[in-house]
């Protein structure tokens, strides 16, 4: 049975009805990530009338499929545009499409921008996501300061290396902490992943190609787990994280090793690949 993940639907065994309060129901027993890798905005809806208006119009009623993720916004809401360059373009330079879009924006409804999204030129979505993952208990201030201290530590270490190196080597040393961060996470992303699939009462680890956002998530998750759990308790997070990022940038270190382990296990289980149906 196909799973329409883009609409936030999933296969239900048995189909679980949505309650009046609109709370989310996990449709699978031991639900795995394919069921969860769905709708972009998953929020709990409050208000049966909103559901009735939005759900019935947007989603076609398919047998055996239930909506599991809700959004406060209906589909006609557009994402906010925070890029200053977009608004600064003079009228003459706009194409027909863009002119049409700008006209539409005047009347259409727009979602509220999240608190962490700014129109700053220095903003980076990958860094914001990483900060959110590092955050504990909603302490964004602390998470952000740890991130900035990490970037500073990476930069200082690279500057030390630069000053100590000879003229030829200096050209090869990368000092931009942002390039190092992006490259390190890219190096940590696995290409293929394992998914537990239930067949005949047993769960088998089946190798499966991962979508881009799952790979980015795994890279960040492994990086943070490595820093939090495997290091000495008295070392500070910026120190640990800067060290791990630099190692991953050079394709070394425990996070890269974890990625390779994942690849090896997928290679070992390749006989089970036919269990995948998507």
């Amino acid at each position: 049975m196909q799973c329409r993940t883009d609409l936030g639907l999933c296969v239900a065994f048995p189909p679980s009805p949505v309650t009046r309060s609109g709370t989310q129901k996990a449709a699978f027993v031991g639900s795995s990530w394919p069921a969860k890798m769905a709708a972009p905005a998953g929020k709990v809806a409050r208000g049966w009338s909103v559901l009735a208006l939005t759900l019935r119009t947007a989603v076609p009623r398919l047998p055996g499929l239930t909506q599991v993720r809700w959004s406060r916004y209906s589909p006609e809401y557009r994402d906010p545009q925070t890029d200053k360059e977009y608004y600064r373009k003079p009228l003459a330079e706009l194409t027909e499409e863009e002119k049409c879009e700008q006209e539409l924006r005047k009347t259409q409804l727009i979602k509220a921008a999240p608190a962490a999204k700014t129109s700053s030129v220095f903003e980076d979505p990958v860094i914001s996501k990483f900060i959110n993952m590092m955050m504990k208990g909603g302490n964004k201030v602390l998470a952000r300061s740890l991130m900035t201290q990490t970037l500073e530590a990476v930069k200082r270490k690279q500057f030390e290396k630069y000053h100590a190196a000879s003229a030829e080597e200096q050209a090869t040393i990368e000092r931009n902490p942002y390039t190092i961060f992006h490259q390190a996470l890219k190096n940590c992303e696995p290409v293929i992943g394992l998914v537990p699939i239930l067949r005949g009462g047993h769960f088998y680890q089946v190798p499966v190609p991962l979508p881009a956002r799952r790979r980015r998530f795994l890279a960040m998750k492994w990086m943070l787990t490595e820093c939090r759990e495997k290091k000495h308790r008295r070392t500070l997070m910026p120190e640990k994280l800067s060290h791990e990022l630099l190692e991953a940038f050079h394709n070394q270190g425990p996070v890269i090793k974890k990625k390779h382990d994942m690849h090896k296990m997928a290679e070992a289980n390749r006989a089970l690949a036919h269990y995948r149906w998507w």
Partner: protein, 426 residues
């Protein structure tokens, strides 16, 4: 040379029932013949900091006295030697040779770890030459050593550069062969001290052996050459067996303080007393530089044996330092910097001398020359950004663009401390 004398008007904050000027801008000093404070009248028209005319008023006043330097376009930091013929220009980065650092800044900069990190990363110690420091240096150049020591107080909001201006002045004076008595952070003497002892010299006071001995060590490194030249003028008995005779070099007192840690505080007191009395002779020029001077008249968090809080005057080190910053000696100058950052029981937004020093401190330091250190001007900000770009410190690609610079200006509000913190991770 201007031969006109000035009187310092020291005004006080009134009872506080209405907002008023905290301290009238003291006119710039060239020769102080009579330090007679005028009658303490409040001039409601003159606001130093209350309104937008305040700092500009002081700046305009400065311009009247000293010809204004046109800021030059930023260029590679020049190794200006203050003692040489090359004059320091405003808006230039002035580099301190690295070999001077251990001697001039023997105490280190405990209050300003970021600058220490920056020196380590760039392998060079650069300071931006700014107007407050430049004015101070010009006045120090023109001091009349026959007159009582003039006290200059650097004050300003957090992160505006008071400590680094003080460092600039210290390096300038050290290059000119002055004897520099530098207390890097007076707040460290009034909080978190272990090993307090009852002073042997005066039972009412307390000794701080650890702080005193570390200060003596750095003092020795910084002023090695003077310690053998200066001879003490009295005999000091340390205990029944040990004493230092009259006519011995000052280095022996310092050695005694370092070897016998119990006598370290008394050694510090003796050193300060001797320097003060002998600076009048003209053998050397004395510069007393204290950072965080509001600690001397604030509160402490140190407790006596009966767990009651101590007053600062009960500490022997604080007592000797208070005597040092009085203006009853001549042959040098006193440059002080206020600091709220390490202070105890002061509100976070307080930066004015009256607020930080309190009535007692203000009375003790009165009359003094206040020097306001403010945020970067547009030229200084531009120069600072240029310096970071030249050193490739700003690595983010957007930081090189106009948009990025405007955003940095907005985020930091041209505050030097904030700008440094922002550029650290960009």
């Amino acid at each position: 040379r201007r031969g006109v004398s000035f009187r310092l008007q020291a005004l006080r904050v009134c009872s506080g029932r209405h907002p008023c000027a905290v301290c009238c801008p003291a006119t710039m000093l060239n020769r102080v013949t009579r330090l007679v404070p005028r009658a303490r009248q409040l001039d409601p028209g003159r606001f130093l900091h209350g309104g937008p005319q305040g700092p500009q008023g002081l700046a305009v006043h400065l311009d009247d006295r000293v010809p204004d330097e046109t800021p030059r376009a930023g260029s590679r930091p020049s190794e200006d030697d203050p003692a040489g013929a090359g004059e320091q220009r405003e808006d230039r980065h002035y580099r301190i040779p690295l070999q001077d650092l251990p001697t001039v800044f023997a105490h280190g900069l405990p209050q300003y770890q970021h600058y220490v990190c920056q020196v380590k990363t760039f392998h060079e110690a650069c300071l931006l030459v700014r107007r407050p420091a430049l004015e101070l240096l010009r006045h120090l150049d023109g001091t009349n050593f026959a007159h009582p020591a003039v006290r200059y107080v650097l004050y300003g909001e957090k992160g505006t550069g008071k400590t680094l201006s003080l460092c600039h002045v210290i390096h300038f004076c050290a290059k000119r062969d002055w004897l520099v008595v530098h207390v890097p952070d007076a707040h460290l003497w009034v909080k978190s001290c272990r090993g307090l002892l009852r002073s042997a010299y005066n039972r009412q006071r307390f000794d701080q052996p650890v702080e005193a001995s570390s200060w003596l060590k750095s003092f020795k490194t910084a002023n090695e050459r003077f310690l053998s030249q200066i001879k003490i003028q009295e005999t000091y008995m340390w205990n029944k067996r040990e004493s230092t005779e009259k006519g011995r070099p000052l280095g022996e007192v310092v050695e005694q303080g370092l070897t016998r840690v119990k006598n370290a505080t008394d050694a510090v007191g003796i050193v300060l007393k001797e320097l003060k009395s002998q600076s009048c002779s003209g053998a050397f020029r004395l510069l007393v530089a204290v950072d965080g001077v509001n600690a001397l008249w604030g509160k402490t968090t140190l407790k006596r044996e009966d767990k009651s809080l101590m007053a600062p005057e009960e500490l022997a080190l604080v007592h000797s330092l208070r005597k040092m910053v009085r203006n009853d000696w001549h042959g040098g100058a006193v440059v002080l910097a206020l600091s709220q950052t390490g202070s105890l029981f002061t509100p976070r937004m307080a930066y004015l001398p009256q607020e930080l020093l309190g009535k007692e401190g203000f009375d003790a330091l009165d009359p003094f020359v206040p020097v306001l250190v403010s945020n970067y001007s547009p030229e200084e900000f531009e120069r600072c950004i240029q310096y970071y770009l030249e050193n490739s410190w700003l690595q983010h690609e957007k930081a090189h663009t106009e948009e990025g610079k405007k955003e940095l200006l907005f985020l930091s509000d041209a505050n030097p401390g904030q700008l440094e913190r922002l550029c650290a991770y960009l």
